[in-house]
Symmetry: C2
Subunit: 233 residues, 2 copies
Amino acid sequence: MTTHSDPLGCGDCPVRDLAICSGLEEQERLALARLGLKRHYRRGELIFASGDESVACATLVAGAVKLSRCDRDGVERTIALLQPSSMLARLFAADIDSDAVALTDSELCVFPRSLVESEMRSHPGFMERILQATTAQLASARDMLDLVGRRSARAKVAGLLLVLADEVDTASPSANREFVLPLTRGEMATLLGLTIETVSRQLTGFERDGTIERRGLKSIAILNPSALRAAAD
Amino acid sequence: MTTHSDPLGCGDCPVRDLAICSGLEEQERLALARLGLKRHYRRGELIFASGDESVACATLVAGAVKLSRCDRDGVERTIALLQPSSMLARLFAADIDSDAVALTDSELCVFPRSLVESEMRSHPGFMERILQATTAQLASARDMLDLVGRRSARAKVAGLLLVLADEVDTASPSANREFVLPLTRGEMATLLGLTIETVSRQLTGFERDGTIERRGLKSIAILNPSALRAAAD
DNA sequence: CGATGACTTGACACCAATCAACTGAGGTGG
DNA sequence: CCACCTCAGTTGATTGGTGTCAAGTCATCG
């Protein structure tokens, strides 16, 4: 191994088989890695800002990121939640249309967008991976739309808890799942089009029901998943 | 020209330079056209149903289509509006996750999904077009999320009117634009997470303001676009 | 231990859902 | 041609849910 055989530490990358890079041959992946860089962001840190020129293409390696917008009164609306292995990029567009903010301390691999686009044109397997990633994000955006379009606060919050629980742990869809909320109450509220107080009251309601249990401020256990699913629509 | 030189009538297709087929060379496009078929759907007709096997990939040539889902109480939620040139497909997935319904009389070119996927793997230009289309749908889904996440009915309806006006006519973003709503009040309501009555009342409100004018049941003129934009957030 | 910020709870007002009646447009049939 | 039907849309009265404002609690950190 030469000194620069693994500049980004791809060797022990937790998302190496999920992220778009997995569509590249070893050699191309290395070429990309040489021109990329790994960056850490603290919770709350701004990664890209709406209006920025779209020059980068990134992969979320660890942590959690939200995309959001603000209207002119400064009211924020979250339009996407991104998990590790997600691609952060605006392909085919001159500039960014939303803020990207780290929800928890996060790690990203950042590449020049132009490089990613040119690599993708010469490597169909890479482009297919990017298409898959985009398709997955589209499906998830539509799921969110379904969620946010619900008419009662109860259904919205229940649905969000189920989404967040699944994100944490797809393995055991059973009772007593405990997971850590990556979102504050305020972030849940801007995501669902509700207020902090309403989100809080819904959580209290579910806890009174025995549907969930709050453990500390950020941790939630789902005691009765079927009750939660029933509440979700 | 031989008898089968233009089986789908691509020659005078209104979206021939916009749809994904435009990513193909003449010869490949013809090969695809030979295995596709053109179908008409009446307003309200079901094109694909949630749960169906994902065997087709279609292009909306003319008309308008919505994607929607129902919860177990039968409450419908619309998760996307598709315009001419949009691709209707669930790539990389075994089955369909939402109903596709014609909003107006519509015309679609339908192809076997397997064929589209294999063509895309052998023609990078075609895959890039599909990626572009998917990226555009993702952007539009996030715009919708922004819209539906607004907290007042007034802002939601105002935003929707602006979206619909743009869809009809991007050319003149000025006053006195008149356009035909492709959606009934009920469809606007399921899209925004409101009720028919609320949508109706908001429209009446905007009309009293002098912001819009209703002309017949389905036609709307925007008299004061900036007032509408102000109301939209 | 005090300060800060996130969260919860309460009281109240208001907006949107609900239920119900009415209007108007389009279509059918006598 | 008009009467009638049907369905989408509008409007009104009322209720209930969610936003708002305000106070209070809890966790974390210096």
